[in-house]
């Protein structure tokens, strides 16, 4: 039953393998709206939780193309707008334009990637429900958290709590929204 008063049930694990196992079992149990909080990226967690989001990479590609064509357009336009004989070289030397084109490809790609990643992650966001959990600060240190969100249809404060405790969590907490 979705619960609007709370954010979710937070389970703390000591080892990343436990977290991975817990996540698999939670999926098997039918929960869908799950998130995990770890101090470093844990291998395999993404597949189990069915996180498939490649938009960052697409943004990188789009950024690259944008940068490339922007660079070419800029260089071509400036020579079209005011054509000047500089060294008897051709007005539109692609070999010369290639350098700036490459640089802007990289620049735009990097910028789209980085900013895109932050935007897709919703960051910066300084206030978030889990920060209220007393032990959550360990998520950046050495503890691995699994959170079953209250918005999940199968969420039930007591059943979910029991389920998580049976998975071997160190602590289980209900996080208010």
């Amino acid at each position: 039953m979705p619960d609007s008063e709370h954010y979710g049930m937070l389970a703390e694990f000591k080892e990343p393998e436990r977290l991975v196992e817990a996540a698999r079992r939670a999926r098997a149990e039918g929960y869908r709206d799950i998130d995990a909080f770890t101090p470093f990226p844990v291998e395999g967690l993404g597949e189990i939780l069915q996180f498939r989001d490649r938009r960052v990479l697409w943004l990188g590609l789009i950024g690259g193309f944008t940068g490339f064509f922007t660079a070419l357009a800029m260089q071509m336009f400036t020579n079209f707008d005011f054509p000047i004989n500089a060294g008897g070289r051709p007005l539109y030397p692609l070999s010369a334009f290639a350098v700036v084109a490459f640089e802007l490809t990289v620049l735009f790609s990097a910028a789209f990637t980085a900013i895109g990643m932050l935007a897709l992650n919703g960051l910066p966001r300084l206030r978030y429900p889990v920060f209220g959990a007393p032990r959550f600060h360990l998520a950046s240190k050495d503890r691995f958290f699994l959170c079953i969100k209250a918005g999940d249809p199968r969420f039930d404060p007591s059943a979910t709590r029991t389920f998580l405790e049976r998975l071997g969590a160190e602590t289980v907490e209900l996080v208010p929204a």
Binding site: N85, A86, G87, G88, R89
Partner: protein
């Protein structure tokens, strides 16, 4: 004062002036001398024609002036005479000489020159044969040559190189009799100089390559030398001395000790441009206006009279010399042009206004050239020159090619102008031969001291390849006193050791003293190191090898449908005289940066004349190569500039856009010819400086941080375009003349439209001698060269 003089009829009144030709001044002086019969005029010119005049007087028994006609000359043999070198006749001689060079190949209508000299000169640099010998040998050489031609008796033994040279020279003179010229330097002892008119007369050259006229400068008669004046001052018979535009305290030969004697004169009056060394010892200094601010007149070296009119009202007040003399003659505050008008009223007669306007317009008075007179020389006995004793060296004194006798020492342009053969600036040196340097273990800049009798002067050493072994060359014109911001404390004064009896050559001693002087030269390296910057052709191979196929190019050629400006410099005509460099400096507001900056390599001249030496140190060949901007069609500099500050115009000029330049200096890094100059500091004159009045208003004055270089005088191109536009026509052939082209006396530099097949540049380009500097780089320069003819008898090559 006049009353005083009138009372005594001019007793004790003396005038001292440099040599002058001005008809007005002559008239005024004659008037003064007739007003005050006991007064006397003395003439002293530091670098004048006194010795030449004495030589001619000995030869002909009367006063005369010597003139050359180099355009008629097939063979010139010179004993230390430098007709192409600095002096009043340089332009005339160079122009005439150039008609027998360039397109005139060896063996076909070309002048060959054979020089014997002590110190390398400009004429020597372009001569076919050259021998370097100490001054004491010159007499023997001259006599040998003369004797070979049947004049006089043979001299004592010559050494092998001297004999070889002298035989070749004599043969050349003989072969071209009637069209040859035997020249003896005007600074040599008068007795040796008499040989020249004798030989020339004997060969039938008189009237053809050499002619004589009545004296052009005013002859003051006996008892008018500086020595006579000094004698009278010592004797106490000089009461008042009026010095007209001369500076004897500085320029008098050291052994006269003029500075010590002058205070004995009771009343000392000085008329001059500067409050110079002489003025500082005088009671009264009357400031003269500059020649460009004065009404005056004068005569050119060929006698043609010219009326001088001022270009502007005097900047600092003062009066011209004629106004002062008119005041001495009794007129109160005469107008500036009154005296000159009065002089020419006599000549122009009734139609004064027409003639006056015409002469002012033309710049000269028509039909006033001197007429040749027929003279026959007589042989005199030649005294032997004293031989040099062991351990002594021979000292020659010469005027400086830039500041002459010192009168121009306060002109910053000339201080910064690199001297043609040494490329030194802001200093004079003791020129020594490589042999002497090796013997005494000397390097450039080591301080030396020369002593002649009991007079001494010290200065820095400078090694000159090709200089006579035991000769030390001193330059006049430096070591001035406190006379101006520029000239103070630069160099040494050679006048100190000069002797009045033998002003241009002495024996003396040389020793090393402690210290080194940093010398600022604009060219550090002098050998071509096996490269072919200056190319030569010879009679055997009169055309340069042309490439069999056009140079490959990555880029399509850029079309130039209208004008295509180009410049061709004929290296066979260039004598390295620096006229082009000076003209460029004047035309383009080029800054003077001072000795320290030049020593660092920051001189600002857009046009430089590279001077190379090839061969061995004792007997090198010299080459001059003026290098302006090449205006490359495929310019590396334009490609390198990130902000379009240097770009190419549709007519082929590599433009420098000062107000766009941010000073990255990429252009200069990429330039293979290194023709660009950078404003490292703000080299402009302060806002209240009169220098701004000297600037060309058509040319931007550059500020700090901006690159600059030769622009093919784009302001002149533009002015020609505007004029053509206003007159509704296109540009005429050869209508645009760059400043360097305009000033070059030999027409070595030619500029014009390459797309016009009738233009001078297009014609030169079709010559077999045409080549491109650093052609292999593919920059496609618009400034190109014509190779020099190698007309040495044994076809000696570059190294």
């Amino acid at each position: 004062m006049r009353r005083n003089w009138a009372d005594r009829k001019g007793e004790g009144l003396r005038f001292l002036a440099g040599e002058f030709t001005s008809p007005t001044l002559i008239r005024q002086i004659k008037q003064l001398l007739s007003d005050f019969p006991a007064a006397r005029l003395h003439v002293f010119e530091p670098v004048g024609s006194a010795l030449r005049g004495e030589g001619l007087r000995s030869a002909f028994g009367r006063d005369a002036t010597l003139h050359y006609r180099l355009e008629n000359c097939d063979a010139l043999v010179s004993i230390d005479d430098d007709p192409l070198g600095p002096g009043p006749s340089q332009v005339l001689h160079a122009r005439a000489w150039s008609q027998r060079r360039g397109e005139a190949k060896p063996g076909q209508n070309r002048i060959t020159m054979h020089l014997a000299e002590c110190i390398p000169s400009l004429t020597g640099a372009v001569a076919s044969t050259r021998v370097a010998c100490d001054p004491s040998r010159l007499a023997a050489l001259a006599r040998f040559v003369a004797a070979q031609l049947g004049v006089g008796t043979m001299s004592d033994d010559l050494n092998e190189p001297e004999r070889r040279w002298a035989s070749q020279a004599a043969a050349a003179l003989r072969e071209h009799r009637g069209r040859s010229l035997f020249a003896v330097g005007a600074h040599l002892p008068a007795a040796i100089q008499t040989l020249a008119p004798l030989v020339n007369h004997h060969l039938g050259n008189s009237g053809s390559t050499v002619w004589y006229s009545d004296p052009i400068t005013f002859q003051a008669g006996d008892g008018s030398s500086l020595g006579d004046l000094v004698h009278d001052i010592s004797a106490g018979t000089v009461d008042t001395l009026v010095m007209v535009d001369c500076n004897p305290v500085y320029t008098a030969p050291g052994d006269l000790a003029f500075a010590n004697l002058l205070p004995r004169v009771r009343e000392r009056i000085h008329l001059g441009l500067y409050r110079d060394e002489t003025a500082q010892l005088c009671h009264r200094h009357l400031p003269l206006t500059h020649a460009l601010e004065s009404w005056s007149d004068g005569r050119a070296v060929d006698g043609t009279a010219s009326i001088i009119q001022p270009l502007l009202t005097p900047l600092y007040g003062g009066r011209n010399v004629h106004q002062f003399l008119d005041m001495l003659l009794g007129t109160v505050d005469p107008p500036a042009d009154a005296a000159v008008r009065a002089t020419w009223t006599q000549t122009f007669g009734s139609d004064f206004d027409t003639h006056w306007r015409q002469s002012l317009h033309d710049g000269f008075v028509a039909d006033t050239a001197a007429s040749p007179i027929d003279l026959t020389p007589r042989l005199i006995d030649m005294p032997q020159l004293p031989a040099r004793s062991a351990g002594q060296i021979e000292v020659t004194l010469r005027p400086d090619p830039c500041v002459w006798d010192g009168r121009l020492a306060n002109v910053a342009w000339l201080q910064e102008l690199p001297k043609p053969l040494s490329k030194l600036t802001w200093d004079n040196v003791f020129a020594i031969s490589p042999g002497l340097a090796e013997r005494m273990q000397l390097a450039n800049g080591d301080m030396l001291e020369v002593a002649i009798e009991d007079r001494r002067v010290s200065g820095p050493a400078w090694i000159v390849p090709g200089q006579a072994t035991n000769t030390v060359g001193l330059s006049l014109g430096y070591g001035r006193g406190n006379i101006g911001r520029v000239a103070t404390e630069i160099g040494y004064s050679a006048y100190i050791v000069q002797s009045a009896a033998q002003p241009w050559w002495s024996t003396g001693s040389l020793r090393r003293v402690a210290g080194r002087r940093q010398l600022a030269t604009t060219q550090l390296h002098h050998r071509m190191e096996g490269f072919d910057f200056v190319r030569e052709v010879s009679a055997a191979q009169p055309a340069l090898p042309q490439p069999s196929h056009p140079q490959p190019d990555l880029y399509a050629p850029w079309p130039y449908p209208n004008e295509a400006w180009g410049m061709v410099i004929d290296l066979d005509l260039c004598i390295g005289c620096n006229a082009c460099v000076t003209a460029c400096t004047a035309e383009n507001n080029i800054a003077v940066v001072g000795k320290e900056q030049v020593a660092m390599g920051r001189d600002m001249q857009w046009l430089r004349i590279d001077r190379y030496q090839a061969g061995n140190l004792e007997d090198p060949r010299f080459y001059f190569q003026p290098v302006p901007c090449m205006h490359c069609e495929k310019a590396p500099c334009e490609m390198g500039c990130p902000v379009h500050a240097t770009v190419h115009s549709p007519d082929g000029i590599n433009q420098m856009v000062y107000n766009r330049c941010i000073g990255t200096r990429t252009c200069s890094s990429y330039c293979p010819y290194k023709v660009r100059r950078f404003n490292w500091f703000d080299y402009r004159a302060p806002p209240d400086s009169p220098t701004h009045a000297a600037h060309n208003p058509d040319v931007t004055v550059r500020s700090r941080g901006v690159m600059e270089k030769c622009t093919y005088c784009i302001q002149r191109v533009q002015r020609a375009r505007v004029t053509a536009d206003k007159e509704n026509r296109s540009l005429r052939t050869d209508e645009v003349v760059t400043a360097c082209q305009q000033a070059c006396p030999t027409s070595a530099i030619v500029f014009g439209n390459l797309n016009d097949p009738d233009s001078a540049v297009a014609k030169r380009r079709r010559s077999g001698r045409h080549y491109v500097l650093l052609e292999e780089l593919g920059t496609k320069p618009r400034t190109t060269y014509l190779a020099r003819w190698n007309d040495t008898p044994d076809g000696k090559d570059t190294d």
